[in-house]
């Protein structure tokens, strides 16, 4: 730490002023994790825990979408991969009797393999063509799941998916939170290493990226593989938590919601999808009493964010940090002048 000689106060200020130091980047995530760990000890309402468990799984899904989006690919069928994970794990444990823990991990790997196979065939598609291709593939996946008869439960959905552990809300809360923390750490490392830099380079100009030696196809497939693994994981975990799944949870609208989580949270920031998912699930959930109007509220929130915070909510936070830094710099500058 640069400010260590100034004691505790200097250290605290250092957390805000030097964003490059490892410690400063940890403070807010660690505080958030501590808060989330404490919540079940304080909050007794099972309904509130249920909402948070749902949020945790969807944060994993939104983060997985981000891993693909930073490479400049817009997978408009991403929620369908969540469905693949959910159905694969649900069917494997219901029909084949696999223990849920095993089937969840297996389903994530299975989703990743499907993702890689598709990514290979989509390697030549870019921008709009990739988006259209993945959109129709997503529709096809949902239709295949609908046509699965008793195996998938068809239109009425797959029910009776075996639960995990004692199936209490508090247990699930910590399982989901644990999965979220592990996934977020894994994806954070993915993005902040040179791998993430190369993906962002490809999204800015695939011609330039190739010209300096970045293998575009390899990296794009890698991004899809990682994204598919984690969205499969989220889908599978969620399926065992709720016990009943239906294909309507994984259609185009569901993908749009995932995109909204990422965009409202802020596309330029790793924490964007986390913040966005919390906001967009929690707010409509607590306006449930308005029932038919809740989509309007969500749409209103989206408009507000697009107009007021083009960099999303996480972007707003960055702006605040920059202001504080500017204010502190101004103050020390004045002190020097005196």
């Amino acid at each position: 730490m640069t400010d260590s000689k100034n004691g505790a106060a200097g250290k605290l200020a250092g957390w805000f002023s030097s964003r490059s130091s490892g410690l400063s980047r940890c403070v807010i995530p660690v505080a958030a994790v501590v808060l989330l760990v404490v919540i079940p000890l304080v909050v007794e309402s099972l309904y509130n825990l249920h909402i948070l468990i749902m949020v945790f799984f969807y944060v994993i899904a939104a983060l997985s979408l981000r891993a693909i989006v930073i490479s400049g690919q817009f997978p408009l069928g991403h929620a369908a991969y969540m469905g693949i994970g959910a159905y694969a794990s649900g069917m494997a444990s219901k029909w084949l009797g696999l223990p849920p823990g095993l089937s969840i991990v297996g389903a994530a790997v299975f989703t990743m393999i499907i993702g890689i196979l598709v990514a290979y065939s989509f390697a030549r598609l870019r921008a709009l063509y990739y988006a259209m291709g993945s959109l129709f593939l997503g529709v096809a996946i949902v239709q295949i799941l609908n046509a699965g008869g008793t195996w998938t439960g068809g239109y009425s959905g797959l029910s009776g998916i075996p639960p995990m552990f004692d199936n209490s809300k508090v247990t699930w809360y910590y399982v989901a939170l644990g999965l979220l923390i592990l996934s977020a750490l894994a994806l954070y490392r993915f993005e902040s290493s040179r791998i993430g830099t190369n993906l962002k380079a490809i999204s800015q100009s695939h011609l330039v990226a190739e010209s300096v030696g970045i293998d575009e196809a390899k990296y794009r497939i890698l991004a899809v593989a990682v994204g598919s693994f984690f969205v499969g994981l989220a889908g599978a975990g969620y399926a065992h938590y709720v016990g009943t799944i239906a294909t309507s949870n994984y259609n185009f609208m569901a993908t749009m919601w995932l995109f909204m989580y990422v965009l409202v949270g802020g596309i330029n920031n790793f924490y964007g999808p986390i913040v966005g998912t919390f906001i967009l699930i929690l707010i409509p959930e607590y306006f449930r009493s308005l029932k038919t109007y809740s989509p309007f509220i969500s749409a209103g929130i989206l408009f507000l964010f697009v107009y007021l915070m083009p960099n999303g909510f996480a972007g707003l936070f960055e702006l605040a940090v920059a202001r504080i830094k500017g204010w502190r710099a101004g103050r020390t500058g004045n002190a020097a002048a005196d």
Binding site: T197, L207, V208, S211
Partner: protein, 254 residues
């Protein structure tokens, strides 16, 4: 011979952009490739770097056939290039542009990158150091934290060169390094290319600005996809066929 091009042909539908082109570049040489607009110069660059495959012909670089290799492989083998249009990583800073372009030497595996191994950290430290050196060489060090999209045109061109240098190329391909520059930027660029020449770099320059001739050891002239002349800058400047290609047939005859 570092680069050897033999009978290269590229057809886009009915249009023959490059037609049986043969040329070579020796080590330590600066070769100018000049010709009027639409002569096939940029297509030739794209063929050499593998952006698209040739219809016919062969490209040998450093003893290896690179005819149908992909761009990233060509870059790995040691050909760095700039683009005629200012293509860059617009949302990266100047420094990030150069360090993101340092993929080849040193090279980290995916495993090293993900698990932040000692080798990866050492490589990244070396890349950071060398990126700064490259920026200093090209006079961009004061703009290192500026977003690339905010740079003036001439500096973006120089950043393109910096990016190409970051790949530690054995051969540097510059696509219209003087295009759209004002006179002072042109002087600056010519100086930078001269510096590169003095340090022993091998460069192939595409340009239709004839000022570049003063820097070249040898000049190849291309028109309608075919080589019409090759020689010392002085010879080329006085060649009848070149003059007619640039100024039209009538001018040449009067």
């Amino acid at each position: 011979m570092l680069l050897q091009i033999e009978g290269l042909t590229k057809r886009f539908g009915g249009l023959t952009a490059v037609d049986g082109f043969t040329a070579h570049v020796d080590e330590g040489e600066i070769v100018g490739l000049i010709g009027p607009n639409g002569a096939g110069k940029s297509t030739l660059f794209n063929l050499i770097t593998g952006v698209f495959p040739p219809t016919k012909g062969k490209i040998v670089f450093d003893g290896r056939d690179i005819t149908r290799k992909k761009p990233h492989t060509v870059a790995e083998l040691g050909i760095g290039r700039t683009f005629q249009l200012n293509l860059l990583f617009a949302d990266f800073t100047v420094l990030q542009n150069v360090s993101a372009s340092s993929q080849v030497n040193p090279r980290s595996s995916l495993f090293d990158m993900y698990f932040n191994t000692r080798r990866y950290r050492r490589n990244e430290a070396r890349i950071a150091e060398r990126s700064l050196e490259i920026l200093q060489l090209l006079g961009l060090e004061n703009y290192k934290d500026e977003l690339a999209r905010n740079l003036p045109h001439g500096f973006q061109k120089m950043l393109g060169v910096a990016r190409a240098l970051a790949t530690s190329p054995k051969l540097l391909l510059l696509d219209e390094p003087l295009g759209g520059m004002n006179p002072s930027e042109i002087d600056f660029s010519l100086e930078a290319i001269a510096k590169a020449r003095d340090s022993g770099a091998t460069v192939l320059i595409v340009e239709h600005n004839m000022q570049i001739l003063s820097l070249c050891d040898r000049v190849v002239v291309i028109s309608f996809g075919q080589k019409i002349c090759e020689g010392l800058p002085q010879e080329v400047r006085e060649n009848e066929e070149v003059i007619s290609a640039y100024f039209g047939g009538e001018h040449a005859s009067t």
